[in-house]
């Protein structure tokens, strides 16, 4: 298992899955505490119309148009939710439900209307990605990690998700204090001069970028699971935000690695021949972790 084949076939997806999980779990901590957990759900549904529109405008499947399209759709969705909430005096949940289902429906319709048969763009792919196919063809073994020629052929998704992860970490690290204060006591934060509204929007934008980058590699289902499950499980482990963040990162890594391994090798151990969906398995493992913490974690009850 640990050899040239591992480096070429399993290392890139493992890294991409883990990085995507962490990049989503980090902003997820704040979303869960702010009772905005379902923003992640809404964002991951509207990514589809964003990508389809980007494809229709540019006529090709490029990284940047797709990322921009998805990020734009996420922003439009957040704006629409807020608009419907304010103008229509509708509660946040219903406003979200109206927005993301309608945008998702629009995406599916556009997809059916346009000729996308020549390119790989379909709803299934959008929902559960294709983590298993992100392989590193040039890798000959561990020594390839030091070989610039081989490194150049690493899946581009890995670079993108790494950059996104660094950006997310930087955002949280730099704005740690204001983020923390405004999450727990928005009124106090405002009194301290923290622009809480802008900060809240920045958090959503960060979450959206993480969602879009992760979506590109692993599909939207992991994105929702990683926004919510590791932070929720971590919330049940501790009363301190710092500790909660570390727990969530640990849970995210565990879900990604264990999920990938179980999806790839689990069926073989059980006598099957084919692997199952890694994205689905990672989400399932994160659910198992949440279930375990909900049953046994030290701070599972409200104190």
């Amino acid at each position: 298992m640990i050899g040239a084949e591992f480096v070429a076939l399993s290392l890139p997806p493992l890294l991409i899955g883990t990085f995507a999980a962490i990049a989503c779990a980090l902003p997820g901590n704040f979303l869960v505490l702010r009772r905005q957990a379902l923003i992640g759900d809404a964002i991951s549904h509207v990514v589809l119309p964003g990508i389809v529109v980007a494809f229709l405008v540019t006529g090709r499947i490029g990284t940047w148009p797709m990322m921009l399209g998805a990020a734009g759709a996420a922003l439009i969705a957040v704006g629409l939710i807020e608009l419907i909430r304010r103008l229509g005096r509708v509660d946040a949940g219903a406003a979200m439900g109206v927005t993301f289902t309608a945008m998702f429906a629009g995406g599916v319709l556009l997809l059916e209307q346009s000729d996308t048969s020549s390119v790989h763009l379909d709803v299934q792919h959008a929902l559960y990605g294709n983590l298993e196919s992100l392989i590193w063809l040039e890798a000959a073994g561990w020594e390839s990690l030091l070989d610039p020629v081989a490194l150049a052929s690493l899946p581009p998704e890995l670079t993108r998700i790494t950059v996104t992860l660094v950006a997310v970490v930087a955002f949280i690290r730099l704005l740690w204090r204001p983020l923390k204060i405004s999450t727990f006591d928005e009124g106090f934060a405002r009194a301290q001069g923290v622009p809480a509204t802008i900060l809240g929007l920045a958090l959503v934008v960060t979450a959206a970028s993480a969602a879009v980058a992760a979506f590109d590699a692993v599909g939207s289902i992991i994105v929702i699971a990683m926004f919510i499950c590791p932070p929720a499980a971590a919330r049940l482990m501790t009363e301190r935000l710092e500790t909660q963040i570390w727990w969530s990162v640990a849970f995210a890594c565990l879900s990604a690695v264990l999920g990938y391994v179980l999806a790839g090798y689990g069926p073989l151990w059980l006598g099957g021949q084919n692997s199952v969906s890694a994205a689905g398995m990672i989400a399932t493992v994160s659910g198992m972790i949440l279930a375990a913490t909900a049953l046994f974690a030290p701070h599972r009850k409200a104190s």
Partner: protein, 401 residues
């Protein structure tokens, strides 16, 4: 073409689909209203995503028993069971841990959906010959809808609708005031569960036609739309049913006119269009009505302030105030107050004096709290009270300015 479709002239299948979608829309719209009034619309999202593993498991079980695996009632039974499991998980997580409901919803929907996808990939590798086509449950499909499918939709929808109407009293009571409902002898947890069970039934019935992602739209959008038009819960339920049915029927009809118009998304988008129109033009809660109300109020304030200034002999420079005064004929173009303006200004001043007297009075002072600066005094005081106030402040005075 579209007219033919709307008049059910597009052939047997299109007619079935339109009628089936309409009955699904009515039932989903009416049922979703209770969820919306309870402010728990997104629980339906968790329920619908949680159906997926049940569909896959039911398929596997039926294949293991030597069956076809695609037998619809079996698949729907499986989906109902796993939706129930998902619903119980949401309830348990919310009640027994410190997690808020939104986190519980998100966790359940993503984990169940992920597990469902794992099971779907297992099915794909198990029997490539018997391609299950279970993916159609994701986005729904009306192609090759049978008479029995339409019948299932109609009967299932009618049953759920009847149950919802039967249970509407406790459900509305719990939605508006759970504390009162509990003391009045209505069990909140049981009523909530019943509401969810109805939503679950609608989800299962609608899975095949609009798919599990967009059934959520049929549950939420009509209810939100209907809320714009009325403040009475029963009317919201009825209107939501109407809007849902309309979206289902028109959506299905439009989708029948061309091959690349998938039914589910079109139905959702018709529902969304109805929502946007209602958001804009509904009387009372609509954006347009609110804008007009604001404008009317703004005019009244300007006019009143302008009259007070004129009555006190001060010139009016503010442009909007001047324009309004001119238009009403209270002011001449050379900034001289007209006779009519004098009369009106006297009345405004007099009302102001009356209010001041009311505030000074021991017995009437509490009523003065109702004055927001624009309140008509005759709407607050009775004729007798008004006469008493007038006796104290003396007769009307002429504005001299």
């Amino acid at each position: 073409m579209l007219r033919d479709a709307l008049l059910l002239q597009m052939g047997y299948n299109a007619t079935l689909v339109a009628l089936g979608a309409a009955s699904l829309g009515v039932a989903a719209g009416a049922t979703g209203t209770f969820l919306f009034l309870r402010k728990r619309s997104l629980v339906s999202d968790a329920i619908s995503h949680a159906t997926l593993p049940g569909i896959g498991l039911a398929f596997l079980v039926m294949v293991a028993l030597g069956g076809d695996g695609r037998w619809l009632p079996g698949l729907l039974a499986g989906s109902a069971l796993s939706a129930l499991a998902g619903l119980l998980c949401v309830t348990w997580l919310t009640r027994h841990t410190r997690l808020a409901e939104d986190a519980a919803i998100g966790a359940v929907l993503s984990v169940f959906f992920g597990a469902g996808i794992v099971i779907l990939t297992v099915i794909q590798t198990l029997s490539s010959g018997r391609q299950a086509g279970l993916e159609t449950f994701l986005l729904g499909s009306t192609a090759g809808m049978l008479f029995s499918d339409a019948l299932t939709l109609a009967i299932g929808g009618a049953l759920v609708l009847a149950l919802a109407l039967l249970l509407r009293r406790p459900m509305i009571q719990v939605a508006f005031d759970p504390g009162y409902a509990e003391t009045a002898g209505t069990s909140v947890s049981r009523t909530d569960f019943l509401t969810m069970a109805l939503v679950m039934a609608i989800t299962v019935v609608g899975l095949k036609i609009v798919g599990l992602i967009m059934i959520v739209a049929l549950l939420i959008i009509p209810a939100v739309t209907a809320r714009f038009w009325t403040n009475r819960a029963e009317y919201v339920v009825a209107l939501a049913g109407l809007f849902g049915g309309l979206a289902g029927y028109v959506g299905a009809a439009i989708s029948a006119t061309a091959p690349a118009l998938p039914t589910g998304p079109i139905i959702v988008l018709i529902g969304f269009a109805l929502f946007v129109v209602s958001l804009l033009v509904a009387p009372g809660r609509g954006v347009l009505a609110a804008g007009l109300r604001y404008r009317r109020f703004q005019r009244r304030v300007h006019l009143r302030q302008g009259l007070i200034s004129l009555a006190q002999g001060q010139p009016v420079y503010e442009r909007m105030t001047r324009r309004l005064l001119l238009r009403e004929g209270f002011l001449r173009a050379d900034n001289v107050i007209t006779e009519e303006g004098r009369a009106r200004a006297a009345k405004v001043l007099r009302d102001e004096t009356r209010w001041q007297e009311v505030r000074r009075s021991d017995s009437l002072a509490p009523l003065a709290m109702q004055d927001n600066g624009m309140t008509d005094i005759a709407s607050v005081l009775t004729a007798d009270q008004l006469a008493e106030i007038d006796r104290r402040i003396g007769g009307p005075k002429r504005v001299t300015a």
